[in-house]
């Protein structure tokens, strides 16, 4: 089971006739290994939700191949549904029912016996820190609580794969942290998660691997570190105390640069290949020129820069 592929999608295509309903897929490929969190990262309209809806059997693809937990999404939908959990973009829970009533109902619909559904509801309320609100109508819940209940509802029967579609869109920062904590907890229990997000930070925080999606196609794939390395160079950042020194420092840095330098206010960013050598040489040159920078650091490119580089479009940070 160690390196089993739980999600495999190849050349999935989907065109919406009429156009306005959602973003299509245009040769979408994806593999997800058991026990990992894969982030599907892309701007609005890239096709993230479409991909999740196809993989969770809610939507039919036009062409292509996709399997989840070893079952064909198109031909063995019922088998797939038995093994997945879905947390959609909107918290899909009943607002009039209480938290406990929701979980018990979904437990019954997952074909648990009455007593078992009730027991499972209690366990999940405990796990997602909702015991105090268990008897309250969901309509009175905060955004973060709804999301947590939504997550709980998709974990009634431990799924092989959990789809989480934009879990924190529209949540305030505190609620976002709550949801991240909940997702991390799942991951530590070994659940395979496919998470879509338009937030780079979220993908960086939660995902083992990231697939970057643009116009219905994966344009880059790898661990966050690999993606950052794909840009080639690291950056040497110099923050100067005196803007007048900028020109001198720029001339000193130019021989080390592997590409174009960037200047932002008093910050000079130099793309470098050989990290250590660049740092040492630069530090020496500055010392000889008698310049004392406010800060000198080496860093990898941010995912933001990777995304911009690969797609030419910005993602929310």
């Amino acid at each position: 089971m160690t390196t089993q592929q739980v999600i495999e999608a190849a050349d999935v295509r989907k065109n919406y006739r009429g156009g306005t309903e959602g973003a299509g897929l245009n040769g979408f490929d994806l593999t997800v290994t058991a026990g990992t969190v894969t982030g599907l990262l892309g701007p609005n309209g890239a096709g993230k939700t479409t991909a999740v809806r196809i993989l969770s059997t809610l939507l039919e693809m036009d062409s292509g191949q996709a399997s989840v937990a070893g079952y064909d999404v198109r031909r063995q939908g019922a088998e797939v549904r038995r093994r997945i959990g879905l947390v959609g973009q909107y918290a899909a829970i009943d607002e009039v029912l209480t938290g406990r009533q929701n979980l018990t109902m979904f437990g019954r619909l997952n074909h648990l016996a009455h007593a078992k559904a009730a027991k499972r509801a209690d366990e999940l309320l405990e796990q997602f820190d909702l015991v105090a609100a268990a008897g309250q109508a969901v309509g009175k819940y905060s955004g973060g609580m709804r999301r947590r209940l939504d997550l709980a509802a998709s974990l009634i029967v431990a799924p092989d794969v959990l789809f989480v579609d934009e879990p924190t869109t529209g949540l305030d920062p505190a609620a976002r942290l709550e949801v991240w904590a909940a997702v991390r907890q799942l991951v530590s229990n070994g659940t395979t998660v496919l998470l879509t997000t338009q937030y780079l930070e979220e993908a960086d925080q939660l995902a083992d691997r990231i697939s970057m999606l643009k116009d219905g196609k994966v344009v880059a794939e790898g661990t966050p570190d690999q993606l950052k390395t794909q840009l080639g160079s690291d950056w040497l950042d110099l923050v100067l105390t005196d803007p007048a020194e900028l020109e001198v420092v720029r001339r000193l840095a130019e021989p080390l640069a592997d590409g174009e330098l960037k200047i932002e206010g008093q910050r000079l960013s130099v793309p470098v290949k050989d990290r250590t050598r660049a740092l040492v040489v630069m530090a020496n040159s500055l010392h000889e020129a008698n310049i004392e920078p406010e800060d000198i650091t080496l860093r990898r490119p941010t995912l933001d820069e990777v995304f911009l580089h690969l797609t030419g479009s910005k993602v929310a940070v």
Binding site: T57, E60, R81, L86, A92, R108, L109, A153
Partner: protein, 264 residues
């Protein structure tokens, strides 16, 4: 458990969801059961004085079965709203992603809505009896009349599900809700169609609502001038059987098609 067993169990779970809604928000559902009573009292006192029925009968003799039929029509709104909200809020998608029976989603809704109608009808019958309305042709025929009314409600269920799945969001429902009123008025619910101008009477008498109202009056032994004066009126029981069946035959497959099309 067998597939059929699970379908029934899942349907009951979905029905119980609605029953729990009633328990959690009793005010809302109780108001909805008394709304037809309100209509009965308002229209009864508003129009009753101006109505001239044979043998000096009370207007309630004519109006009560009309309001019965109208209550079936208004039930449509409840079905539509529930279906649209579930679709909009993603609850329908969650159901579709579960290993439950997909027929159960609709069956559960149907059972809940029929129960709802049954209670509203019982409240209304009680009020009607208190106001002096009676059935005069014996209990079996009265039960047959109630059966025809519920048959109409069953047919309207499928229209409700179809529209509920078709509209984009809950706001578009307002348009549909506004249209329900003229449909209610263009029928024999309040007056016999034979008293209307000819063109209007012709439209109204073919309204499935008129068939149910007039058929109920026929079976209850309540007055309705169209029973003896028009063809549709004299065949109202037949019409009250055929028209709901026709509506069901059209809208049940359409609803199923819509539901399947959610995945396109």
């Amino acid at each position: 458990m067998t597939t059929l067993g699970w379908t029934l169990a899942d349907s009951w779970t979905i029905t119980r969801r609605t029953l729990t809604h009633w328990r959690n928000q009793p005010g809302l559902i109780i108001f909805s059961w008394f709304f037809p009573v309100l209509m009965l009292l308002v229209f009864g006192s508003l129009l009753g004085g101006a109505m001239d029925l044979p043998d000096g009968q009370s207007y309630y003799e004519l109006l009560v079965p009309g309001i019965f039929a109208l209550t079936m029509l208004f039930g449509l709104e409840g079905t539509m709203t529930a279906v649209t909200q579930d679709k909009e809020k993603g609850v329908t998608d969650r159901f579709r992603s579960l290993p439950m029976s997909s027929a159960a989603v609709v069956m559960g809704r149907a059972i809940a809505d029929m129960l709802d109608t049954l209670i509203a009808l019982a409240v209304l019958v009680g009020t009607g009896l208190a106001l002096g309305w009676r059935w005069h042709e014996g209990l079996p025929k009265a039960l047959a009349a109630f059966g025809l009314l519920l048959l109409l409600r069953f047919a309207l269920l499928w229209i409700g599900i179809y529209i509920g799945l078709s509209v984009r969001n809950a706001q578009s429902l307002t348009v549909v809700q506004v249209l329900v009123w003229p449909i209610g008025f263009l029928s024999s619910a309040f007056v016999a169609t034979s008293t209307m101008p000819a063109w209007l009477g012709t439209i109204s008498q073919w309204n499935p609502l008129s068939a149910a109202a007039t058929a109920a009056r026929t079976l209850f032994g309540n007055p309705d001038a169209s029973i003896t004066t028009t063809w549709v009126g004299s065949h109202s029981v037949l019409m009250a059987i055929i028209s709901p069946l026709l509506l069901t035959a059209v809208f049940l497959p359409l609803s199923a098609h819509r539901y399947r099309n959610l995945s396109r």
